[in-house]
């Protein structure tokens, strides 16, 4: 269509630290699985768990 905007879905991952409960949003990376241990928390020495994986639509 001439006037319709192109839509792109961007995937994001939200990690939550099980110790300090702080959340962090980042781009989805291959191998991300919901509720799996993700990385070291940047705020404390806890381990983050993937809390959400979702898509947001971007219109060009």
């Amino acid at each position: 269509m001439i006037f319709s905007k192109e839509k792109i879905t961007l995937a994001y991952t939200i990690e939550k630290c099980s110790k300090c409960k702080k959340s962090h949003k980042r781009d989805f990376a291959n191998g991300d699985i919901l509720f799996s241990n993700s990385s070291q928390c940047t705020f404390c020495d806890g381990v983050t768990i993937i809390e959400q994986i979702f898509g947001e639509i971007l219109q060009k």
């Binding site: 879905t9 995937a11 991300d32 699985i33 799996s36 959400q52 898509g55």
Partner: protein, 374 residues
């Protein structure tokens, strides 16, 4: 020479009693054309629209096939070139059991569908020397998508060509009516491919997402094919949590799992959490409570769950999260993901409202568990 400046328009289009032959022709010729060729004209106009849709369906069909073949070649290690075999799978058909005598039809349908699933799984396995269950389920899902798109294209094309061949306008009407719905489904399926390829959760996974978190720190066991069970205690009640085995792209077999639980335990209530198609005008990701088995599919699983519940006089409560067809099979939206904690607290409330201390409740998270662990 003709003098065009002397042309009397009023005389040409005059509507007085004196009959004008040119005027008569202008009125009568189109009427005659529409009486004898009206259907063909309508067919021509409608067929243009349908032709465009068929072209799109053809692109969807070939794109989904290409995506599948490329995925297999790039990410897995096939023994031989899998193209020919994959093309063969795409043309596989299923003949549903005859329903003239409906007695035992559900068992027959279940047997046919499961035989097809098992066969496809074995055939995919035979393409590779070594393939994990995660990849096997992923390829099987991509194959289902490609095969469904091929089937939609084939049927629409057949209906269109038949109407055109017979020059029969009424034949094209049903196609014209269902085409927008078919296109919506086809578009949803083609958009679903990236999510399944990357192992991401889809909208339909909200049920497994809710139950998956509930069973996170509990001991888990495989209770039926690709289905996980965890037992936890909550407010002096025993909870049997069921979901498909993640993070594979599978819906598991919750009906078999429920049967297995019932044979060994006395169950007082069943709570099912599933995604449901929203009606036009309804908000996406809205939550609704209801009564009865919330499970989609061909109907055999719902039948089995209802049968077990009826036989044991167990009430079934359900919580559904509304979404569109596209949302259900594509990467989970933020709105749906945000509802998970809310739904989980509603499940706990429902447990307290509908059971007493010491009772046992089965909680089933229904849906595809792609990208969702437990």
């Amino acid at each position: 020479m003709l003098n065009f400046t002397n042309f009397d328009l009023e005389q040409v289009f005059s509507m007085n009693d004196e009959t004008n032959p040119l005027m008569m022709l202008i009125w009568i010729v189109p009427i005659i054309i529409f009486v004898f060729y009206g259907q063909q004209i309508q067919l021509l106009v409608t067929s243009g629209e349908i032709k465009k849709a068929i072209k799109k369906l053809d692109v969807f069909r070939s794109d989904s096939k290409k995506e599948l073949i490329n995925y297999v070649k790039k990410n897995l290690d096939p023994v031989n070139d899998p193209t020919k075999k994959i093309e063969q799978f795409l043309d596989y058909f299923t003949i549903m059991p005859v329903d003239m005598d409906p007695n035992g039809i559900v068992e027959k349908v279940r047997h046919t569908v499961r035989s097809r699933e098992d066969y496809t799984r074995n055939q995919i396995k035979s393409l590779f020397s070594d393939i994990s269950d995660l990849e096997l389920n992923r390829v099987q899902t991509l194959l289902e998508i490609a095969s469904s798109l091929q089937m939609i294209h084939k049927i629409v094309n057949h209906m269109y060509l038949t109407a055109k061949k017979q020059k029969n306008y009424p034949l094209i009407l049903p196609l014209q009516m269902i085409l927008p719905f078919l296109m919506e489904h086809a578009r949803a399926m083609i958009s679903a491919i990236p999510a399944f390829k990357n192992g991401q959760p889809v909208g339909d996974g909200i049920g497994p997402m809710v139950v998956g978190k509930m069973m996170l720190h509990a001991e888990k066991e495989i209770i039926s094919f690709q289905t996980v069970l965890a037992k936890i205690d909550y407010e002096k009640r025993k909870l049997f949590l069921l979901k498909a085995e993640g993070p594979s792209s599978t819906v598991g077999r919750p009906d078999d799992a429920l049967q297995s639980i019932i044979t060994q335990n006395k169950i007082d209530a069943i709570i099912m959490i599933d995604a449901a198609l929203k009606m036009e005008g309804e908000d996406s990701a809205s939550v609704a409570h209801g009564f009865g088995a919330a499970i989609g599919g061909i109907g055999t699983e719902r039948y089995q769950i209802e049968f077990i519940a009826n036989q044991n006089k167990i009430p079934i409560f359900s919580i559904v999260i509304k979404q569109s067809v596209t949302e259900a099979i594509t990467l989970m939206t933020k709105e749906i993901a945000d509802q998970a904690d809310n739904v989980r607290s509603q499940v706990y409330e429902m447990i307290l409202e509908n059971s007493l201390e010491g009772q046992s409740i089965v909680i089933i998270g229904v849906g595809n568990t792609s990208g969702i662990q437990q």
